[in-house]
Symmetry: C2
Subunit: 814 residues, 2 copies
């Protein structure tokens, strides 16, 4: 029988006592230990000050209720571990002149890192009113978790932060994003044992299979076994050493333990271990770079076990505080009403001996200040933490050179996505350390395989001989593919937030997997607009393909165009949505997105070959306007039309155009205006979205009283919400995906959802009662044609040839 874990070593897993560590050593003199501990205490004092005080910052008066904030907010639990780690990294930055960024996975311990920023002077440089004296400290304390101030996570206002840690799970993928193509950077990443339970974090440890020590920097994770989440123990703190060690060896890391609560021995253990890890990283890099042979070492990591809320009282009134989940947020909650607890708080704060750490003006004493690095070597001042200042525009070829040529509108069939891939290929080639393409194993499937000619897929796991057969794998690749949308998105976010550019390509149905990550990124970008010192970063570009209308054969689970609804809820300052109808508009849109900054751009375009509509010049004009009347497809000759046929999305445009052709064939006197929308937010009022348009312009395109049949790529409701205030909105009849799917042919799927040509033409007729009974015959023909179109599907599994190979029957400008 296999062995079992029965908790026998549970006792040894508690975080108390003398340091227990994998590596032994006493690299610090006793004076260094004293000073580092004082620095750590100064940080802890500041953390408590942030949580509690609005006056009396240096406790020069006895602590009274009126010195306290009225509402106590913020997180204490992980502050000590983070601050401890930061303090120790400072020593090595100075000793080895390291380029280091700090990522705080458990961002809810923001006081830990904000206090460090204040101690090393960056906070006061960035926010001069919070200077290094008693008055500045008072303001520094008061603003924390206070209206008009800063939050208790590592929000955009935090110097050196590119990772808020409000929603958990992305610290490791963000960290890897920062070090790709930053060969000298070490990103020290605190990982919470709580966030370690999330799916995105659990798989992101595998990022080592995509990191090349020749061209990339290194991530040094410190897994913080804090022991508790809000109200529960954490899994990783409650499994045996053997299991934990095995887990990380299995992920490809070499874990080194530092565990305990005793200050002196913990400082020695952490100093020994952190230094060992840094030197190991340097050694691997040297080995790979000098030999020019990339390999995947077992990268070092630290498992740091300290009590949750370390340095707090262990018990209050017989209930555990330090080392228990009660230390997660405000450690003592009733200090405003319980004088004894207020006294406990005062004694606790004074035990850090603040009067010896800060001088009479309230400034950190020089002996301690010397422990921190200076200038941009300070982690909270690392330029990577404000990546926009490092951003260089992409070197881009003229997208017009990649255009699909000889387009006969509505007749030429080409693959717009495969063509756009040639544009992407050259962007990769011309920006070999400044741009990467990300995707969950779908790049080839999405017809973007051409990019591999400029940069293969990064692969640092094992190679087989058969990989030579079109594997496109390489340690030096530029395309990042892991079957985890979370990891792709996290890498991309980290990459652009640290000053570079990128693009995520993904199947439409599964992009909802990262709804929440995109939400969080939108919020980060929006908040950055309010932080003066934050430089603009490249836009987050998401290319969605394998779209709903060509997922007929994969069925219902592969049909969900609703990501646009999630994005449309985000700030108009940040989000942009484009649905180019064909290949040349796709090129124009992609060029625009890749040049833009501080947006989240979502581009929806199918990957298959489709009918093309616009030559390059028309495409540019159309994209510049964002929407417009297609004269060549309209027969209203500049007059008021009888009906407007509108479309948004490639397949939707194809069917709407075919519907227009049917109407013109059967009802030649009917004046049909054809409108196409590329830039979705053009539909909104200009008062709401910067891309919106005024009602006057709306009326000139859509009229104010004529029926509009609008064929939309996604759920029809989105159009209704964007246009709800428009004149004539009640004449707007929107078709789109209405959650009807099965195993279908493309035409059958469209019929099921009312987005096929016949249904659209019938809609137009039904919206024009003035046509009277004369059209009943036409209507019947359309209904019969729709039925006939479905029949071949059930017989042969194919759409009829006359639907598959339909072309616009009118020469241009007829």
């Amino acid at each position: 029988m296999a062995s079992q874990t029965d908790g026998a070593d549970a006792k040894s897993l508690t975080a108390y006592g003398e340091a227990r560590s994998t590596l032994q050593g006493n690299p610090l003199s006793s004076d260094e230990v004293r000073k580092m501990n004082e620095y750590f205490r100064a940080s802890m004092y500041l953390c408590l000050g942030m949580l509690y005080l609005r006056e009396n910052p240096l406790l020069r008066e006895p602590l009274k209720v009126e010195h306290l904030k009225a509402r106590l907010l913020g997180h204490w639990g992980s502050d000590a571990g983070q601050s401890f780690t930061w303090t120790h990294m400072n020593r090595l930055i100075k000793k080895y002149d390291l380029d280091t960024l700090f990522i705080s996975g458990p961002g809810h311990g923001a006081p830990g890192i904000i206090s460090q920023s204040y101690l090393e002077g960056v906070y006061s440089e960035v926010y001069p009113d919070m200077c290094e004296d008693a008055e500045g400290m008072q303001k520094f304390f008061k603003q924390f978790s206070f209206p008009g101030g800063i939050g208790s996570h590592a929000t955009p206002e935090t110097p050196g932060s590119i990772h808020e840690g409000g929603e958990l799970g992305y610290s490791i993928s963000h960290a890897f994003g920062t070090v790709f193509d930053h060969p000298n950077l070490i990103t020290l990443t605190m990982v919470g044992d709580g966030e370690s339970e999330t799916g995105p974090l659990a798989t992101s440890w595998h990022s080592t299979k995509f990191l090349n020590p020749c061209v990339d920097g290194a991530v040094l994770p410190v897994l913080h076994l804090n022991g508790y989440k809000i109200n529960n123990p954490t899994i990783l703190a409650r499994i045996s050493h053997d299991e934990l060690t095995n887990l990380f060896l299995g992920y490809g890391w070499q874990p080194y333990y530092v565990e305990g609560s005793d200050f002196d021995s913990m400082h020695q253990a952490m100093a020994t271990t952190l230094e060992h890890c840094v030197l190991e990283i340097k050694e691997y890099q040297k080995q790979a770079r000098s030999s020019k042979k990339a390999f995947r070492p077992r990268w070092p990591m630290i498992i740091l076990r300290t009590p949750k809320g370390w340095t707090a009282p262990r018990e209050i009134d017989g209930k555990f505080l330090e080392g228990f989940w009660r230390a997660h947020q405000i450690p003592i909650t009733d200090v405003r009403t319980n004088p004894e607890h207020l006294k406990i708080l005062e004694n606790w704060m004074k035990a850090y001996k603040q009067e010896k750490l800060f001088d009479k003006n309230g400034k950190l004493i020089p002996e301690l200040r010397e422990l921190a690095p200076t200038g941009n070597s300070r982690m909270s001042a690392n330029p990577v933490g404000n990546g926009g200042i490092l951003r260089k525009p992409l070197i881009m070829s003229d997208f017009r050179d990649y255009c699909l040529k000889d387009i006969v509108p509505g007749q030429t069939v080409k693959g717009g996505m495969a063509n756009m891939a040639t544009f992407l290929r050259d962007i990769i080639a011309r920006n070999m350390t400044n741009f990467r393409l990300f995707g969950p194993d779908e790049t080839e499937s999405n017809k973007l395989g051409e990019v591999y000619k400029a940069g293969k897929k990064v692969w640092m796991a094992d190679y087989f001989d058969e990989d030579k057969d079109g594997g496109n794998l390489s340690p030096e690749g530029r395309v990042m593919e892991i079957l985890s949308e979370h990891t792709c998105e996290g890498w991309l976010e980290g990459y652009i937030l640290s000053g570079r550019h990128g693009l995520l390509n993904s199947y439409e149905p599964f992009i909802h997997i990262i709804d929440s990550m995109v939400n969080q990124h939108c919020k980060w970008i929006e908040k950055c607009l309010e932080v003066e010192w934050r430089a603009k970063v490249a836009s987050l570009n998401i290319l969605i393909t394998a779209t709903v209308w060509r997922q007929d054969h994969n069925g219902f689970t592969h049909q969900d165009p609703g990501f646009l609804d999630v994005v449309a809820n985000k700030s108009p300052q940040v989000v942009r949505i484009y649905l180019p109808p064909d290949g040349n508009t796709l090129l124009s849109v992609m060029d625009h997105c890749l040049r833009s900054v501080n947006y989240v751009n979502v581009v929806v375009a199918d990957k298959q070959e489709h009918i093309q509509f616009l030559g390059m010049d028309e495409a540019i004009r159309h994209c510049t306007k964002g929407l417009g009347i297609w004269d060549w497809a309209s027969n209203d000759q500049g007059q008021e039309p009888d009906v407007v046929m509108a479309s948004c999305g490639d397949v939707s445009t194809h069917e709407a155009l075919a519907a227009t052709a049917l109407l013109r064939e059967y009802l030649p006197d009917l004046k049909v205006r054809f409108v196409n929308v590329v830039d979705l937010f053009r539909l909104m009022p200009s008062t709401y979205h910067p891309h919106g348009m005024p009602d006057k312009q709306w009326k000139s395109i859509f009229t104010e009283n004529k029926p509009i049949v609008f064929n939309f790529h996604s759920y029809p409701f989105l159009i209704h919400r964007l246009t709800y205030k428009r004149p004539g909105q009640h004449h707007l009849h929107v078709r789109g995906y209405r959650e009807k799917g099965n195993i279908d042919t493309p035409f059958e799927l469209a019929v099921r959802n009312g987005t096929d040509r016949y249904s659209l033409a019938i809609d137009a007729i039904d919206l024009l009662p003035s046509l009277g009974n004369t059209v009943s015959g036409v209507r019947e023909k359309l209904v019969n044609a729709r039925l006939a179109g479905k029949e071949e599907a059930y017989n042969n599994g194919l759409d009829p040839e006359y639907i598959r190979n339909w072309r616009w029957p009118y020469p241009k400008n007829s």
Copy 2:
């Protein structure tokens, strides 16, 4: 320097040759090997038939193009591994009379398991037209990936499937959901090495820390190292044996390898290994159950490495097929146009010797049929795979007994969520093997801690002494908490799909993490409505709390009420959304949801203490109607009002009511009607949603020409899209969260988004131009009051007392 992996053992990782396995043995006679291999071949033959054939199912004529489907669709890559595993489990089910469910993680290999269902006769029992003869087989082949037929994943039409595998990553969490409280069940779970890269799958291996061998069954994972995804190798197939073994030991599993491609030795190895695992599971269960002492063994799992597309030709035209990513979908794509390839296909199919496996009628020969179990022991007939037939209604106390008493509308303040927890507590107590509560470490924070009195938190990881201090941990708990929304949701889905009941509670801001899972579940449920033999399962109940309007202090990242938009896109047959305004309505709604079947119910209610509005009887009446006029808050006395003040959501109702009070105070002649909405879909037309209402009823409540100020919990656009066709829709003025957040007080956050009482009252005035200039003084007072309300926030970090402690100033029915 630490060791490194350099791919030195990469050669040994290929999937070819004699079996290599952790456990050695030859438990099968040569005759058994022959028969099992023939059964396996029969399955493979059927798989190819499904992918390719519409005629000539038994290849009794030479294969011609006209026998092929016109459009070739479906997945081949993982079929063989899944079918091989199924075949071997059949032996053990018969030998040990096991109760076994099969979950197909890589659901894209549906032919593998559908073929097994056909071979064991279940498919023909369920779908009699696809009977066990040549004609039935022809229909069985043709329907696959064919319009009107079934998909190429394990869709709801698949007997024995509760897991489609269309979107990847949930096989293990679903599997654990099926075995909780099913002590005799073993859920054999094929896990794809592709899906293993997803975040949700990567963390779900930790589910062992929540499984109690005394009361729960077991999950037996078979990690299928197929080697490739669509176009890439998989990570887990390209790391060393050492790393892979360590990884799973670290996750708490004991991995046993079975690797190779040689049939005879692979059958022996799989038979040995699978039997060992089953016996090991039985032994652990016996040990735990006989001692009545739950423990966490190192549960067994199998790592099965076979070539991708096993049994296909290794190379065609010098390009790899078997054992390469080209075998992922249709293995030979050009058989309709390339006669040589058609011949290769024919020879390949015939090599399975179908004429010896199926009799002259086309039925599997008896010698092979004997290998399968019979009746409900067949995995595709396991009742758990159609869990609705096992579902027993919850035993529920009368929710009225838990009501909040002595409610003075608008004046009483109580905690509705904490009160509802007492109702939940007793549901748990009365349904100890039929209901579980799930949540990502937020149950206590969400004021539901009362439930621990009936059932503690399941915890099978290590215990510390300090857990006695309110830890509420137990091996026998009923509450499932892991900091992974994905895992919680996956467990819950598995639990209800296998016939039980449950509830997920989660913070509102982070529920977007499972958008995609909920989408997929909605699709599953909707499709089940079309599958006659599927019995209805308990609804998926999601309770969302810690809502946006009380996330003022946590800031912008914690504010996102947009999950409702995602849900509202799903089928009206499936989704229901409730926003009870107070404690008694919450009780009534929860009672309704927990009794319902086949829905996805989303309930949004804040967890804090709030003003109450309705006594129990009124609450029931109000919830039954779904929305209604609150006479006690209105002063239109049954006449046409001047303005309608409407609300949906608890805090939104509170502010709308306060706005009504302001209007009545300042403009006593104004007739204000107060409307509250509990059931969001009541707002839709009855033609669209079963809960919708006709326009006539709409008009009787909202009028058709009076201004409506609607204060909504979520993004205001959702109301616009639900009501876009309503008479008087242009008079509807909706306020809600408009993505404006910071560190705020609750009132300040409301002001920022225009949902505070003063803004709402101002809106009403602005919508009533008939009031003329006489109200400019009133308007100014309101504007000043709004400004004053914000001031205290900036001074003290608190809302003013007169806002915090506001009460409805009018006695009932004034």
